[in-house]
Symmetry: C2
Subunit: 125 residues, 2 copies
DNA sequence: CTCCTATATGCGTATATGCAAATATATGCA
DNA sequence: TGCATATATTTGCATATACGCATATAGGAG
């Protein structure tokens, strides 16, 4: 594992916010839910997720069209130590993201996302 | 403390190597000693040290013309946690730097650097 | 197969970042 | 004061990185 690239990947606010979602919630989250949580365009969320996945910081599960992301706790010990740090020190940071995420998770059917992008957006307008 | 800038500062090999020197040795080290340890030009070492100091990751002591740098363990808890991670996971990384540092520290008079740049360079030619 | 939706990815551009060389600042000493 | 040395900073340039837009891919439903 390349430590420089590892820290570099954490040196971006969007990626920290994404990781924070996984680490604070402990859940698998799909892209459209992250879009609503962070209030960022889909292509931006997707691109940063790709960077995190290339470094094995997150792993994915496909469920039909939806792709769920989660923190990869099977990564190296160093990564896991960093996860703990973020989890610990970001408790009260980016709390709006967590609030938005929870509001969005309410719309799930059981453990799965059933609405796409449009409905939540309309709900807030 | 801005976490993004904190991680960004760690996302550079030169800065990681500098921090590693402080964390593995536990010593105060002056710029010319770091130049010999990392085998990098003086302006590069100096510039990266400035970045680390602006984030309070390192602190300095002036001793005449020489300026000694060390890890700042009075920084925030998050920084200290990160220091521990680097210390732990970099034990066997950049070991040449540590070897060079130790060779250079041999030339100290007690706890202080007494030679400048030229002598060590000549020694290795 | 066709259409719809969730996700990913080229591409161009603006900004950020690192390097090299030269120069500036600061301290000690004669 | 003037000189030598240790350290810092400025400038120009090359490269990397993030963003926005548009489009491509992939899976599900009919």
């Amino acid at each position: 594992m390349n430590f420089v690239n590892l820290f570099k990947s954490l040196g971006d606010e969007t990626r920290l916010r994404l990781l924070n979602l996984f680490l604070q919630s402990g859940k698998k989250i799909c892209v459209c839910e992250m879009v609503d949580a962070l209030q960022l365009p889909q292509y931006q969320v997707s691109r940063h997720l790709t960077i995190l996945r290339n470094l094995d910081l997150v792993k994915t599960t496909r469920q039909g069209t939806w792709i769920y992301y989660e923190a990869n706790w099977e990564a190296s010990e160093c990564v896991r130590d960093l996860f703990e740090i973020i989890k610990k020190h970001f408790k009260n940071k980016y709390s709006d993201d967590i609030k938005n995420l929870n509001a969005r998770l309410e719309l799930r059917n059981g453990d799965y996302c059933v609405i796409g992008y449009s409905m939540f957006e309309r709900k807030n307008k």
